[in-house]
Symmetry: C2
Subunit: 252 residues, 2 copies
């Protein structure tokens, strides 16, 4: 995964920071971007505060190949992502003719009011991300992709955006798990397997289920054969402790 383009996800919204809302966007984006070969290397959840959004966008767009933001592009006073991205890029925040036209067509006469017009106001130079659910588009400027926070709308926007993203080799994943195995007993052997496969990320994840506790080992990387070789070695390690390893992740 060393040569893959990288992604940062920026979740913008007080509702996640206050605990009101369980985020559902991080896992979706992490999974889909991994499949595209654009692994997520960092996530930040930040509040609806102008200075924080501007500074964070500028920091992460310089450090990662792609930035994906979710949240803050609706019509209400707490939706300030779009103008903050314009500030971050130092460009005017202005009427986007195509977004404006789409929304004007969508609303009845008189209903495309000032609040809704804010959703058709974007940083100069933005290109639209289609919204098949509720019209108001997201947008891309530079390497920053600005999407809605509502999961259903965000997912539709990502589906529309994905074909245009230049990915790297897909990240593949192989796993094995075994009940009754404790991390502390396989740690030494695992470390040796990781050392033998430096191009892989070998993760160790204990699980606690009604059917029994155990540990899952997951190998991630660009090369399926190498991931399978590492998992085969882990399987031998687990079996050597008297366990009965099963290929794949444990059932949910």
């Amino acid at each position: 995964m060393v040569g893959n383009p990288t992604a940062c996800v920026l979740v913008i919204g007080n509702e996640v920071l206050s605990g009101r809302t369980q985020d559902a966007n991080i896992r979706f984006l992490a999974t889909r971007l991994g499949e595209l070969g654009i692994p997520v290397r960092e996530v930040r959840v930040i509040p609806d505060v102008v200075e924080t959004i501007v500074a964070t966008v500028n920091e992460v767009r310089a450090r990662f190949d792609h930035v994906f933001t979710t949240g803050g592009i609706g019509p209400t006073h707490d939706d300030i992502t779009s103008e903050c991205v314009a500030m971050a890029f130092g460009v005017p925040w202005e009427k986007h003719p195509e977004a404006w036209a789409r929304m004007e067509r969508h609303y009845k006469p008189g209903e495309f009011n000032a609040a809704r017009q804010r959703m058709a106001t974007m940083p100069r130079g933005a290109s639209l991300i289609d919204n098949a659910v509720s019209i108001a588009p997201g947008f891309t400027i530079g390497n920053v992709h600005v999407m809605a926070g509502v999961p259903r709308i965000m997912q539709a926007m990502f589906d529309s955006l994905a074909p245009s993203l230049a990915g790297g080799p897909p990240i593949v994943s192989r796993a094995v798990h075994a009940q009754g195995v404790m991390e502390g007993r396989i740690a030494e052997g695992l470390a040796a397997i990781q050392a033998a496969h430096p191009a892989l990320d070998l993760g160790s994840y204990p699980y606690y289920r009604a059917a029994g506790n155990g540990v899952a080992i997951v190998a991630k990387g660009n090369d399926p054969a190498e991931a399978e070789a590492a998992i085969a070695a882990v399987t031998v390690l687990m079996a050597g402790l008297g366990a009965s390893p099963v290929q794949g992740e444990p059932p949910v």
Copy 2:
């Protein structure tokens, strides 16, 4: 909430960034810390990479009153949070006598092996956070609280830590919701209510349910009477549009 102490949550683990694992710790900590009057102002999810962990810990411990980390304190090769925190503080990473004694008592003779001994190795000066679930403690050093990633263990550690945290006035929350109301129609009125209550955070959250779509408005702040006044004004605003507002959050 202006004078409240602030918190940053640091989720450390490749498994959240890869989409393998749905994070369950952010919402728990955000909710509990809000109740303690220590609002979470930022969350970061970062990978198991030494330089990233060290740099991030040093950045956020300078910017926030408290930092809560989850993940990376188990016995395997990918558990590197503890030694990274020692590096961040510039102190030795060494045997913690009390943690060591607790774990030595817990394991059968010969089972407190090198991998498990790593879990009793901590930054010099760390004070323990009890682990009622699986013995191996977390720890606090300076304003950084280092906890497990497994939600059940993290929650037990937080319960043990919470009484020692000096909080501020609790963050209270009041809400109203109404079916059939669209954000674009109440946005202007909401902005005026927010402007009249600058000490509150007024959030607007559309919802999509089988029983009907609508919007929930949530007021958060330190003063229950002010939150109630703002929600009363929102209720009047919604009713003026012909809706039937209901106090509280919409049912899940």
